[in-house]
Structure formats: structure tokens, C-alpha cells
Amino acid sequence: MTMTKGFSPEVLRLDHQQEADRICTRIRGLMRNQVKRGGVVVALSGGIDSSVTAALSVRALGRERVIGLEMPERHSARETLALSGKVARALGIPTLVEDISGILQSVGFYEKYDNAVRMVVPEYGDGWTSKIVISAVANQPRFTSFYLVTQNSQKVQSTVRLPLQPYLEIVAATNFKQRIRKMLEYYHADRLNYAVAGTPNRLEYDQGFFVKLGDGAADIKPIAHLYKSQVYQLAEFLGIPEEIRSRKPTTDTYSLAQGQDEFYFSLPYQMMDLCLYARNHGVPAESAAPVLGLEPQQVLMVYRDIDTKRKTTRYLHLPPLLIEDVEWE
């Protein structure tokens, strides 16, 4: 599909009522015909995606068939619980709180993480915080590289490029968080005979920004087709509290606050949405650039980054692969 004119932020504008109705009809159909469970568990993070997923689930199935699961841990942002509680109250759904710090401690997450960080910052210890950030893709044609930002107890930050092994160790340890959360979501889903609703938006789903068998796992994904800006539009329509709608998207994964655009996406979500839309609809870089406030060369680099991420994360979407087809229907 090629769009050579008419490209503007308006291309992402939704008819809120119509889209909410379409999604809810589809959720009911999937639950009735394929999933065949009595309701859904939604992990509430206090962010926009989980809030909208929960709100759509309530609209589709009724509030008595939706339960919110809040799963903070030692590194979670302080406001996480307050915000997820606020959403649950606004939607009128019950919630359960499972602090996963104890499980993370038991599997050795905190120790493994700290040891991995000490491979590059030996003095890292009590009172320090850290996060991973990526190089800016849109500024220069470089391979993505990963940097560790640490902050000591005096709030002094330093940044170091991560070599292969510490990078893999940090990511592998951190993935415990998403996988433990998903394990608990399925525990509660099983005991209630519910399904699990996943919360990825289109950017995350398309670009592979999820942990396989962690936040990537779910029975239904009601907003995986929506660009992030569209999720915000629906949030307003669905009455998600303003405090959540005005919050900057974070990963809430590392001890030092981390924006999604620092860790994975090369641009803030509003621009990333438009770039992804433009890429999907064949908008030439020269036409997209003025709308985005970028140079055509920068848009081309983002397009290339989109293609690379698609290619390199495709395996995350794959089911276990078989040597030959096994007939089962």
C-alpha cells in the first residue's frame, strides 16, 4: 500500500465509539468461540496500555468478569500501586496485589542483576540504581548499542557501553520480572477459570518489545492492533483517570526510571507511531519528514530500524517449531 499524500497526525484519529464497540464485539466472540473461559485477568501496571485493556474488557464482558492483578516489586516506581489502584476503582473491578519481590529474591534475581552490573561498574552496590538505554537511531546511521546508566547514592550518574556478556546477563535476569508476573496471571486465571488478557500496543507487538513467555504471553491481546496514540485516544473515551493519561510511558522494569524511548524505540511514541504508520503505508521519507519535523535521512534511518527490529524479533512471535506438521484438527 502506498500513500503519497494526505499523511498527517490525523491518519491515526479514531472514531472512539466505533472502535471500542468493534473491539468489545471481538473480545466477546473470541471468549465465547475460542477461549471459552469465564472472564479475564489483566495485570495492571498503572500505565496506559493495561488501563485501556482492562477498561475494554469491562466494557466487553462486564466488571464482574474482570480482575486486576497488581504486581509491584522492589524496583517498581513509587506511584505504580497508587495509579493501578486508581484505575481499578474507576472501573469498579476487584484487584489482587502480589508483591513479586520475594519470588525475585528466591530465584536470585537481585543478586544476579547486581553481579552483572558489577562486571562493568565494580563499585555498584547498596543505594545505587541503574537502567539500560540505547543509542539514538535517528541521529546517525549506527548499529544499536546498549549503555548502562548507573546512579550512585549521591545521585551522580555515569554511562558505560555494555559489552556482550554483561548485557546478556542483565537482560536475562530482568526478564524474570515479566515471566514471574505472567506465571501469577495464569495462576489466578486458572483458579478462576479465566483467560489472560495481554496488554501490548501495536508498537510493542510489531517491533518485538516484549519478553517471550513473559509479557508476550496471553490468551487475547485486545489492543495489539492500536498505535500507542490511538490507545491514548481510547483512554480518554473510556474514562481512564487523567493522571494515567498524562504520565510518560515507562518500562517500570529498572531501578532507575526509564522511558520506553530510551530503551527500545528510537523516537517518542507520537513520532514512532507516525513513522510506523508511514512505513506500513508506503509513505516516502520525503513526505513523512516535514510532518515529523525530521530530515528525510533521519526518517530513512527510522524506517531501517523498524525493518531491522521486525526481522530480528520475529522469532519472539513464533510458536515452538516442529520438524514436520502434526495434524491435530
Binding site: S135, R142, F143, S145, Q165, T308
Partner: protein, 89 residues
């Protein structure tokens, strides 16, 4: 084995499971899906360990690392004190 052969052998062993079919000295690692961003980290780790060359942030660019030929030229430049794209030599 010369430098280019060693690099080629590293790529074939580590990213292609020993099957070098279709890999030329100029095959683009990224465009042909041979290496992803983690693979680049792996390649850089190999270059640093095997050839004792430091790879600066600004040298992490396709001109230096996106084919067997480019990597060989990059390492030769670093070892010989010649100039490398994005670097100061």
C-alpha cells in the same frame, strides 16, 4: 589463515551454524539477516579479544562492521594505525 578468512570463519561458525552457502565477502550482515544487534555485540567482543582492538562508539557503524570485507578492512586499519570510518585512526 589470513585475517579475512578468520573473520569469515567466525561469522560462519557463530551465526550460520557452519553453513557458509551464499555468504560472500561483501554480503551485508544486517540486510541478509545474518547478524542482529546482539550479534554485533558478539562480533565486537570477538574483535576485541582476538585482535586486541578497541571499538569506539562512533565506530559501531555499517561501514566498519557490515560484511566480512568491511570488518577485515576495519581491523587492518586499527592494527596498522590507519584510518577507520567514524574513528580517529
Amino acid at each position: 589463515m589470513d585475517l579475512k578468512d578468520e573473520i569469515r570463519s567466525f561469522v560462519v561458525d557463530n551465526f550460520l551454524f557452519g553453513d557458509a552457502e551464499g555468504l560472500t565477502d561483501d554480503s551485508s550482515f544486517i540486510r541478509e539477516g545474518i547478524v542482529d544487534s546482539t550479534g554485533i555485540l558478539q562480533l565486537v567482543a570477538y574483535l576485541q579479544e582476538r585482535y586486541q582492538v578497541a571499538v569506539a562508539d562512533e565506530e559501531l557503524i555499517p561501514e566498519n562492521l557490515d560484511s566480512v570485507q568491511r570488518v577485515a578492512t576495519f581491523v587492518e586499519g586499527k592494527r596498522g594505525g590507519g584510518s577507520c570510518a567514524g574513528g580517529e585512526g
